[in-house]
């Protein structure tokens, strides 16, 4: 069972909800719960587990071309086949260059070159790390090389490495609604959208709902920071028959805990209660 946690926009509390769900679901499901941080640009989940032990770290790469100028005839076919303008060839100057920032690692150039002038080399994409936490089945995160624009490729690799055999795999999605988010939720069985009851929250929720409807994904909504803002978001959920999975009240004290990275100790009773309700709701949805 894969549950993705997404939010349309950043700052709605997606990370807090993911990390807390990891905890409360682990309690309920005998620790057979895994958390995967798919926000590869800014993975944050591990910040809340300073005691966790790193189990493994793997460097991951994409395959990109390197031009062997001794063999290259500067025929330009590779450049013509590259839809991403990553290859520049100037015949007169015997100039041949690959711009790795633009390369999508699609492999077209290798098929194009009939002179065996392209070597496959590895370009660093990022790192995948696995951690053992004191509860649950562990956390995995992907961390994108700074300056790389290949989030989707890394998310794909992280999801592939995720251990199967867990009762629940939680996927913490990146903010927004573009390709990396779509990649994260692509195989999820259920998606939880975290929103806040403000005009920004509602606006971004509407976009996220549109995306999930297009993807035909079953989903529900958690309203975080309830009490801060207005009731429009509830109105919207009702009008569109969207499941309200839970409400998490706004608490300035808890915000202070969060700022220190301290989530599970000193969790206010009312918040604990709302997470229990959410876990019960999810159990109903899953079964």
């Amino acid at each position: 069972m894969q549950i993705a946690i997404a939010s349309g926009k950043g700052g709605t509390g997606k990370t807090t909800v993911s990390v807390n769900l990891y905890y409360f679901l682990s309690v309920k499901y005998n620790n057979k719960v895994q958390l995967i941080d798919c926000d590869v640009e800014e993975p944050n989940d591990m910040l809340f587990f300073p005691q966790a032990k790193k189990k493994s770290e793997t460097e991951v790469y994409t395959i990109v071309p390197e031009i062997d100028k001794a063999k290259c005839t500067f025929c330009k076919k590779c450049a013509v086949w590259c839809e991403f303008n990553a290859i520049s060839i100037v015949k007169n100057l015997k100039f041949a260059e690959v711009n790795y920032d633009l390369c999508h690692s699609c492999g077209a150039c290798f098929e194009a070159c009939t002179f065996d002038a392209l070597k496959q080399i590895e370009n660093p994409l990022g790192r995948i790390s696995e951690y053992q936490t004191t509860f649950g089945a562990g956390i995995m995160e992907g961390r994108l090389e700074i300056g790389s624009a290949m989030q989707t490729a890394l998310i794909k690799k992280v999801k592939k490495q995720a251990s199967t055999g867990q009762t629940i795999t939680l996927l913490d999605a990146p903010p927004g609604t573009s390709c990396p988010v779509v990649e994260t939720v692509a195989n999820a069985d259920y998606v939880i959208l975290v929103t806040e009851p403000t005009p920004f929250g509602l606006h971004d929720l509407k976009i996220a709902v549109e995306v999930l409807k297009e993807l035909k994904k079953p989903f529900g909504v958690i309203v975080n920071k309830a009490g801060l803002g207005n009731n429009d978001v509830y109105q919207f959920l009702k009008e569109n028959n969207i499941t309200l999975v839970g409400n998490i009240p706004f608490s300035k004290n808890y915000a202070a805990n969060y700022s220190r990275g301290d989530l599970f100790e000193n969790i206010p009773a009312e918040l604990e209660k709302s997470y229990h309700t959410i876990v019960d709701q999810l159990q109903l949805i899953i079964s």
């Binding site: 640009e41 492999g107 098929e111 700074i146 609604t177 700022s259 220190r260």
Partner: protein, 297 residues
Amino acid sequence: MKEITVLSGKGGAGKTSITAALASLAQNAVFCDNDVDASDLHLILKPEIKETHQFDSGSLAFINQETCTKCRTCQDVCRFEAIFTNNDGSPEVNPLQCEGCRLCERLCPADAIQTHQNLNNNWYVSYTRFGAMVHAKMGVGEENSGKLVTRIREKAREIALENKADFVLNDGPPGIGCTAISSITGTNAVLLVIEPTVSGLHDAKRLVELVNSFQVPICAIINKYDINTEFTATVESYLKENKIVLVGKIPFSKMFVESILVEKSLIEFAPNHPISLNLKSIWKMIRQLLISKTCFQ
């Protein structure tokens, strides 16, 4: 004309509320919402759309089932696993996974594949009560958002030059990916909005690394600083160590949400409130830094 980009690394630090406040202070500026995935600035600035433009966001392969011989070549060569076997046993392209590389089209022995351009993204030039604004809306799961950011920034600069505006104010995207890179390249300064939280600082650090690699000067605001004054001190010493000018600290206030509820910037909502006065002095400081330039080292 100077261009300033507001960024935060992490979402939810209050970037858009602060951009809106600065927008109502900056007279003679052009606004550009670089957060093309989840733009929010328009909710406060209420732009009236004047021009709509289409933007090509890459291509998408399409298989003609009538000419396809089901040889599976396309499925084997696609590195994005975008081609799957549908219920009829025929190969089909998953539009959300296809990167539009055209490799399948080029290798299909039956010429059964065609790649079409996606024109799913729009960008707009608008009027707002504070000046011209350029913004965009991406289609679902679309790519090339970096290029779209570059395009709308170009337009914003063009308008600023035409109108002899003093500033272009970019509301940046979250993260450090392609859209963030596109919104940093060539800007005169980055205004970093940091929340004093473990994750806020962590993300800000990664962002600073990125901005430094482009050698763009940075100044910073600590937002909601009173949530954790101890951690605020940590953030302050980080800024100092990295020679980032701290232009101001803003306390947590529900007033930001209240002002958005009535579609106003905080400055319009409560012009004489201490936070508004605070924001005014922040803006003055940023202006001075931008104009003197020497303050950024």
